[in-house]
Subunit: 334 residues, 2 copies
């Protein structure tokens, strides 16, 4: 059952997917459903003995392309709609214990290409208005499978946060005649204190208004890069390099593989014109305040929407700067 | 250091409070700083040997009435402001292991009166635009002290979620000539499937658009009840009764004292006219999907703002209905 319901007190769709109650929950490594299928072994999600990167439809999807019609009314207080859309799983590597940080730049670059391919194909669908590429990493953010993977939700609506960002960028463009993300990035570069990694085409920084102590945004510098599919070969290569340096920095600073939520913001695929309004960027939200303490989203955050942060972005950025390698470390195998 | 910074990509203030890094973290029960000070014992936050309900200023406040001026610029991308406001702690009971569910109706009624008193006093301050009364309960939502207590954040701005709700209610009133919350409650009562507790003046229900499987909203039925301070004696008594029944139901259904975030939504105190637009109500968000599985806010929720729920409100409401006592159980001591 995939259904959407409208919350008239927030103006947002909420998605229901009841079959997700049954999803696989932290299986032991030897029963990992995301590893390659070993000859003579049990069949995993990937019916091959080896793979570099693999994409398949989520067996427990939050949205489904064959979702049936609403059982509520289309109008009034009980507005509902079929939860149409697509949910894909992107396996980063066949190696069960790999992480983005441990993968070679070349491998990450291929992953960027896979993301671009999926953005293009899913975004071209009639029922998809937004392609959201993300990763939940670590039990602290609720992952149910440890094998390195990201996800893609192809929503039938533009979700609230990217929607709000685009709305504000549109107002900004109208008012100032320039792009919000371009000016914001210029201001961060000019200030300099919160920059974490400077690549050839991408810049990673702790934003002035970070909601998590170690939140980092990775911005494409080119204004016309509206989505991952717009990246040139050189930009894809640079993104891979900047991501690897950032993630090596995270892990070096904490002394373990840092959990995070990774969220990609880019242009909706609803046919609108997003030039000067959307900008391809990736946001990382690690839940850790310290090595052993987490930032919980509690009363102020989930009940009022106001984030409280106990560390200044300038301080956490300085720690990250010191931990980021100037050149990525030894390239491990794919 | 208490500072606000504006996020121009979401149009929201983020609050920084660096001294909160040092806050007390899960001390053993015998060193509880929220218990009464025992004769000859170490001094707790309450310099008395006994109390019924106590309120004091948070020693690690997210907002402070003496916050100093901004160190960023007041305009442009780095807009900041002093994090002025007040943070209070409300001790529900001197009994270290009490919960709202275990307290007598009479005691909860007194707590409602304390909330009303604080709303009035904090809301009257020049620098306070919104009085947010809430409770984080249980380690699953990140509590750092187990002693039963709630909190009050008196914000210098109207926070995003209540702000959005009021904005939509204002549009609704303009369009329909009636109050959003009144019509929504009438629709829920007419449908009936999601009602959990019906009191004389309050109704508790799992909303049609619940974001958490066991989310419950407790609405004042009277349209002119804009805040907790507007409640009559009879309404306060009924609220206590409805809350106790709901919370006994939660605990009976799960077989343990259920963690939750409790968030009170009511009229801002910024001098505006909120008649027909704000409605006093309390929202409960328990993190549990089942007895041993939690709902995590991950990629879709924190990166895109789109909630995915794996249970239908009609189903969870039916379970809660069966678990709620028709009359509150034996009244325990205060």
């Amino acid at each position: 059952m995939n259904q959407l319901r409208l919350d008239p007190t927030r103006g947002e769709w909420v998605a229901y997917a009841t079959h997700r109650q049954e999803r696989t929950f932290l299986p032991p490594a030897e029963y990992c459903p995301l590893c390659p299928t070993k000859p003579g072994g049990f069949p995993t999600e990937v019916p091959r003995s080896s793979y570099e990167i693999a994409v398949f439809e989520n067996r427990f999807p939050s949205f489904s392309s064959d979702a049936e019609g609403p059982d509520g009314s289309p109008e009034g207080f009980f507005r509902s709609a079929p939860g149409r859309g697509v949910c894909e799983v992107v396996l980063y590597s066949e190696r069960h214990d790999a992480t983005l940080a441990s993968m070679s730049e070349r491998h990450i670059e291929n992953l960027v290409r896979v993301w671009a391919d999926r953005y293009g194909e899913l975004g071209a669908r009639e029922d998809v208005e937004y392609v959201f590429i993300f990763e939940n990493k670590g039990e602290a953010v609720g992952v149910t499978l440890h094998h390195p993977h990201g996800q893609i939700y192809a929503y039938p609506f533009v979700p609230p946060l990217p929607g709000r960002e685009i709305e504000l960028a549109r107002e900004y463009l109208k008012r100032n005649g320039s792009a919000l993300h371009t000016d914001l990035l210029a201001a961060e570069k000019s200030d300099g204190r919160r920059l974490v990694v400077e690549g050839e085409h991408f810049t990673a920084f702790v934003p002035f208004f970070a909601r998590y102590p170690y939140e980092v945004h990775v911005y494409a510098r080119r204004e016309s890069a509206l989505s991952v599919a717009d990246l040139s070969a050189g930009e894809s290569r640079d993104l891979a390099r900047v991501l690897k340096r950032l993630l090596l920095g995270y892990d070096a600073l904490f002394g373990f593989s840092l959990p995070y939520v990774m969220a990609m913001h880019q242009a909706p695929t609803d046919g609108g014109d997003y030039r000067g309004v959307a900008r391809f960027h990736i946001e990382f939200y690690p839940p850790n305040r310290t090595g052993d303490k987490l930032k919980y989203l509690a009363g102020s955050e989930v009940g009022a929407g106001a984030f409280i942060v106990d560390a200044l972005p300038e301080e956490t950025a300085a720690r990250l700067q010191a931990a980021v390698p100037s050149e990525p470390g030894t390239e491990e195998g794919t």
